[in-house]
């Protein structure tokens, strides 16, 4: 893919995280429903995380909070994957250079 197309695609992904996630269904998911219905929901350990439950502390539990968390999370996923990809690609080049060095 060409660079502009990739930038547009990345922007669309972050846009989904930012603008669509606030309107996603808040109903329990499949596993949560099964856990509620069959009485093992309380086995779940309570845990804290910086943006637990896709909300930003201080912004409450509303749509704005979810939008910021969604946008930040999508950007973080993009950044983390680019970092991993770059490290792997750099290692590949290193390997290739070592190979030619040996010959």
């Amino acid at each position: 893919m060409k660079r502009p197309a990739l930038i547009v695609a990345a922007a669309v992904a972050v846009g989904i995280g930012l603008f669509l996630s606030p309107f996603a269904s808040r109903s329990p998911d499949g596993l949560e429903t099964v856990a509620d219905d069959h009485g093992f929901a309380e086995s779940a350990a309570e845990r804290s995380a910086p943006l637990a439950g896709y909300g930003v502390p201080g912004l409450g539990g509303g749509r704005l909070s979810r939008a910021v968390a969604g946008g930040a999370g999508t950007a973080a996923a993009l950044g983390a994957a680019l970092l991993v990809g770059r490290l792997l690609a750099a290692k590949r080049k290193n390997d290739a250079q070592e190979e030619t060095g040996k010959r």
Binding site: M1, R3, L6, A9, A10, A13, V14, I16, G17, L20, S21, A24, S25, R26, S27, P28, D29, G30, L31, T33, V34, A35, D37, H38, F40, S43, A44, A45, R47, S48, A49, P50, L51, A52, G53, Y54, A69, G70, G73, T74, A75, A76, A77, L78, G79, A80, A81, L82, V84, G85, R86, L88, A89, K91, R92, D95
Partner: protein, 218 residues
Amino acid sequence: MHMPDGFVSAPVIAATGAISAAATGFSLSRARREIDDHAVPALGVCTAFIFAAQMINFPVAGGTSGHLIGAFLAMLLLGPAMGFLAILIVTVLQALLFADGGVIVLGTNVFNLGIAGGLLPYALFRLVVRRGPGGRLAWKAAFFAWFAVVIASASCAVELALSKTSPAAIVIPAMTGIHALIGVGEGIVTFSFLKLIESVRPDLLAGIPGSAAAPERS
């Protein structure tokens, strides 16, 4: 179907965690051989899409919601190694930043979403397109995308049963039943996405076994 800590027992965590660790090692070493500067942004964009898509819960029957997994589609587009890394990165971020899925059970969640719901359906899909009659790529992919969700939920249910959290006779039909509905969403999105790409940028599908753009295999 990200599991929180507390649902599965230590032996289940150890076994699934070991398999996930092995798959991670395999994917890293294979991706290291495959990746080029061209593939890096594709990995980034695909991972971002999986994260965003997993936030978009859609309502299904009876006050329950579901969201895409995306692992199977990522593997179709990026190949199994980089597709696995994409779902791995998403699952790690969800657990660490959002408390969506436990940290102790991270390996179990990666097993359910990336192996049961990713590598396994991808391997079966590849077998079917290579051995079976050609054509109808998007239909086949849609079926295996649905199957990926169901098999991931079955894996989750078996782990819950093995952990004695819920009896097998209850949790397996309950989990696979609701996810057979949720998986329809995965099938529709996978189908529509492949049809769209097929019409605008068929070259992007060259990596998919059985696609019209894929190199002929003898």
